[in-house]
């Protein structure tokens, strides 16, 4: 009986030792992975900060203004605003003009000397 208990104890000791070793090994590995991921996250965060600043640098308003002006864009002028209804009528009038055979007359609804541009994208 006592021998059996002893044997069992020895087996238990060896077994728990092995289990402990395996567990410890696993823990190490997981810890390493966590550390690696933390390092990665830190690096990515740092990259993100740099990219964000770089983006802000590239999108700085004075540069955008310079580039926009080079493209021939400029701030919206008062006469470039049209009511949607009026823009629609202008379009119809222009269509009618284009389908006519005789000389193209100016759309009657647009004030003389104005350039009816219904595009507000040049605002900024």
């Amino acid at each position: 009986m006592a021998r059996l208990v002893q044997l069992l104890a020895v087996v238990l000791v060896i077994g728990s030792g092995c289990a402990l070793y395996a567990l410890k090994h696993d823990t190490r590995r997981i810890e390493q992975r966590v550390q690696r991921q933390e390092r990665d996250a830190e690096r990515l965060q740092s990259d993100l900060a740099v990219l964000k600043s770089e983006r802000a640098y590239l999108a700085r308003p004075d540069r955008i203004e310079r580039l926009a002006r080079r493209q021939g864009l400029e701030p919206v002028r008062e006469h470039q605003y049209l009511r949607i209804g009026q823009a629609f009528e202008d379009g119809i009038a222009r269509l009618i003009d284009e389908t006519r055979d005789d000389d193209a007359t100016e759309p009657t609804t647009a004030a003389p000397g104005t350039d009816p541009v219904n595009d507000r994208n040049g605002g900024r």
């Binding site: 770089e54 802000a56 700085r60 008062e78 605002g123």
Partner: protein, 558 residues
């Protein structure tokens, strides 16, 4: 195993209870010791890493992570990036002289003497050499291959916009602590966030009321005005009349918070750091005082044919009309004698009270720091009442003046100028009556639309601009100088229900093409304002009048 040995021992020893109890004692001590060892092994293998201890090589230098600062649409104004900082461990440095020589060659901004001193102390384990190196500099130092040098990544503040908001945003010190402007305010209200290494802030960005589009339009139009009229300096402000939110604030020449030189430390934010006698734009305040105190109406006439004489000084109009004028005409023709007559009728105590209520004689602060204290005359008698009525003798900051003007334009409520988005809307405190506000709107608009008005060049088709000019002679060593002026234009739009108020001031403008040799505000500050409003009104969602029936479309902020 040892237990087994202990158990197997007794048959060999049969000497009685004394030796047996000794044996038990030894076995017990052994058992306790083994248990302790087992426990320690368990603890080390299972909870390893927590205690860790100090890594001997890690420097214990602290820096601070800062939250980003963004504009009202979330565009970055200031941010932290990681930058390598160079330090040395003097105790393992091989040859100090060689190290100093090589370092100074690679990093020319270093001072050889101080560097040698800090590296010569062999008892030290840590000494900064240079903070925040550029990648190129770091590579050069790396290639030196000197032992005892190492890098640590630290947060470094960058301002991608350069000079665009230089004064307002302020600056940080080498440890990334805010020392001026909004940066300082952030530290004072949100506290410091110490980090080791290049940790970035976990805090949400600080949102300002600045609109980068407006700011750019303001800065570039001021810049154009500065060049065109060869002015020494310029300042401008765009403010929401209801809330006091500042959408744009510029002071030229500007500073770049990325590169603060010794000269930049003296450069003040003229919008809130400099006090000026702003001249005739103050007549807006004087007329409002007359109306609000029940002294005058817009139709009341004053005799402005004779100059005002007080204490031996004579106040006259540069271009006298030679007949009595109504209050409306006094404003439109910008008559000093007329404004002075209103102030004299109100009296000194009432004038002092009214200016104090508008916040023009007291202290003020914004998130960008304290506003310069107004220069209130020590002696404030009738003569001073007259000069103050047309903007001389009382020097205030532009931001304080614009806040007072916003009150006159928004229906009469106090506004507190601010740069950061506010969580709650403060309760509205009435300063002047809505009727006074209506009258001010009317005459400011008239000043731009009528032939006799001084603000005609500020008109922009469709946006209903109203405004007042002011050309103030600057005080010099020999009294007021006629050729050195501050030309200002106070404007608001759309005038039927003002939403934004602007101020453009040029310091010492010179005659230019189209000004016929003049340096008055109506010929320089007014057209600059017109260019500004033409650019910002569409961005701010202010539509031309003929489209008013259509719902206002909020413009997209890219």
């Amino acid at each position: 195993m040892r237990f087994a040995n202990a158990r197997s021992a007794p048959p060999a020893l049969d000497m009685g209870s004394l030796s047996r109890s000794r044996l038990m004692l030894v076995a017990g001590v052994l058992a306790v010791g083994l248990a302790a060892i087992a426990g320690q092994i368990l603890r080390l293998s299972l909870v390893r890493g927590e205690s860790g201890g100090l890594h001997a090589a890690e420097p214990v230098a602290r820096t601070f992570a800062r939250p980003d600062i963004v504009d009202r649409d979330g565009h970055v104004i200031a941010a932290d990036v990681g930058a390598p900082s160079l330090y040395a461990d003097p105790s393992i440095l091989l040859d100090v002289d060689e190290a100093v020589e090589k370092l100074v060659t690679s990093l020319p901004t270093l001072d050889a003497a101080t560097l040698r001193k800090s590296l010569s102390d062999r008892t030290r384990r840590f000494a900064w050499i240079k903070r925040h190196l550029t990648p190129v500099e770091a590579q050069r130092v790396h290639e030196l291959g000197l032992p005892g040098l190492a890098f640590q990544r630290e947060p470094k503040r960058v301002y991608p916009l350069g000079t665009l908001l230089g004064h307002v945003v302020g600056r940080v010190d080498v440890d990334n602590r805010g020392v001026a402007g909004l940066e300082r305010h952030v530290d004072e209200t949100l506290g410091l966030e110490p980090v080791i290494g290049a940790g970035s802030s976990t805090r949400p960005p600080v949102r300002t009321t600045i609109d980068l589009g407006i700011q750019q339009a303001l800065a570039s139009e001021l810049d154009a005005g500065l060049a065109r009229y060869r002015a020494k300096a310029a300042m401008g402000l765009v403010m929401d009349v209801e809330t006091g939110a500042i959408l744009g604030s510029a002071s030229l020449p500007s500073v770049d918070p990325n590169h603060i030189g010794p000269d930049d430390l003296d450069s003040i934010d003229r919008v809130q750091g400099g006090v000026y006698e702003l001249g005739s734009i103050f007549k807006t305040i004087t007329v409002a005082m007359g109306l609000d105190q029940g002294i005058a109406t817009l139709a009341k006439t004053y005799d402005v044919t004779r100059p005002i004489v007080r204490d031996g000084y004579t106040i006259r109009d540069p271009h006298p009309v030679g007949r009595p004028m109504t209050v409306r005409e006094i404003f439109l023709r910008s008559s000093n004698v007329g404004a002075g007559s209103i102030a004299l009728e109100a009296g000194v105590p009432r004038q002092q009270m009214f200016l104090a209520r508008l916040g023009l004689t007291g202290a003020m602060r914004t998130e960008a720091g304290p506003v310069a204290q107004p220069l209130v005359p020590g002696r404030w008698q009738e003569l001073e009442a007259v000069t103050i009525s047309y903007g001389h003798g009382l020097a205030v900051t532009p931001i304080q003046f614009v806040a007072a003007a916003a009150t006159l334009l928004n229906g009469g409520y106090r506004v507190a100028p601010h740069y950061l988005e506010q969580a709650s809307v403060p309760s509205r405190e009435r300063i002047v009556s809505p009727e006074t506000s209506d009258a001010i709107r009317e005459i400011m608009r008239l000043n731009v639309t009528t032939a006799i008005g001084t603000g005609r060049r500020a008109d922009v088709a469709g946006y209903r601009v109203g405004g007042k000019t002011g050309t103030a002679e600057m005080p010099g060593p020999k009294g007021y100088a006629r050729k050195a002026v501050i030309a200002s234009f106070l404007a608001a739009f759309p005038m039927d229900a003002p939403r934004y108020v602007t101020l453009v001031s040029l310091v010492e403008p010179q005659p230019a093409e189209g000004t016929r040799g003049q340096i008055t505000a109506s010929l320089n500050a007014a057209p600059v304002t017109a260019n500004l409003i033409e650019r910002i009104a569409p961005v701010l969602g202010v539509l031309p009048r003929r489209l008013n029936a259509v719902a206002v479309v909020e413009p997209e902020h890219p």
